[in-house]
Point group: C2
Chain length 149, copies 2
Amino acid sequence: MNLSQKCQYGLRAMFELAKRNSQGPLSIPQIAEAQAIPPRFLEQILTQLKHAGYVESRRGVQGGYLLASTPYEVTVGEIIRLFEGPLSPVKCLAGQGGGDCPLLGDCAFIELWERAQAAVEEVYDSTSLQDLIDRERAAAARRTVNFCI
Amino acid sequence: MNLSQKCQYGLRAMFELAKRNSQGPLSIPQIAEAQAIPPRFLEQILTQLKHAGYVESRRGVQGGYLLASTPYEVTVGEIIRLFEGPLSPVKCLAGQGGGDCPLLGDCAFIELWERAQAAVEEVYDSTSLQDLIDRERAAAARRTVNFCI
DNA sequence: TTAAATCCCTAGTGCAACGATCGGGATAAT
DNA sequence: ATTATCCCGATCGTTGCACTAGGGATTTAA
């Protein structure tokens, strides 16, 4: 069920990069401050995102990180899988070897786990970074209207 | 995402009690063997299930544990919540106090987490122990047919 | 050419949760 | 009285998580 802090930081970093996609590279301190992430920890997270091909980096003065693709192309599901592995509630689904389940074969729960996994995958895989940006804007607009009323 | 081993053991124990509901109390060794659960660990788990009101116990010779209600009345969702707490992917949804999220209020992700939580809740809360028993029987029947063919 | 800003890599650390075990006590049936 | 069972509290080893630290490599700018 639970997503790790690292995964959430990773998503927030990607979100920040997506929001300010046109401003050139964002440095670690910039992202860290905007999204309240410990900077040295963020460094590790960005390295991981880079190795997986989701961001690019520029070194030296004025350097930083950039999205490797557009916010429309990246889904939340991909990022979560990068940090958490398969989105399955139990190990025996995750590992293709079946893990070490002693009830292999006639487990009454497998179908249940598969359905739960499919349900969250539907949500996460159908949401792109751009969707998050759009929703944030919509929420901000709603807040403004409420404030006026 | 992941359910703890303890939670899975708890579900399997409940499932075993449900399957053999009419046979009188099941002892810890009986359940442990049938479901491949370390006996001393199972003891703790059954205690937890008892305190929460899901099972009853009989002491002494011929004692053991019984389901406190019918397999139709208990959902998988309840049991999972007993061991794992709220079915939310992030802390800030789980704690009614909002946890310690520094972005409280204008977080672009909240709606996403709510949707993911609702998706798994739909699956887990709509499955009773009896459903699991029925599905296991159906799966066994399917295997028999395949074997005959 | 030097200096500053930035990313890059490899450890290492403290803590809490998890999975499991242990010892010994209470209770009930025979 | 004996035995089978549950009951309770403590403990223990491992692992993963969240985070910190130190020192190096590049690139731009002055």
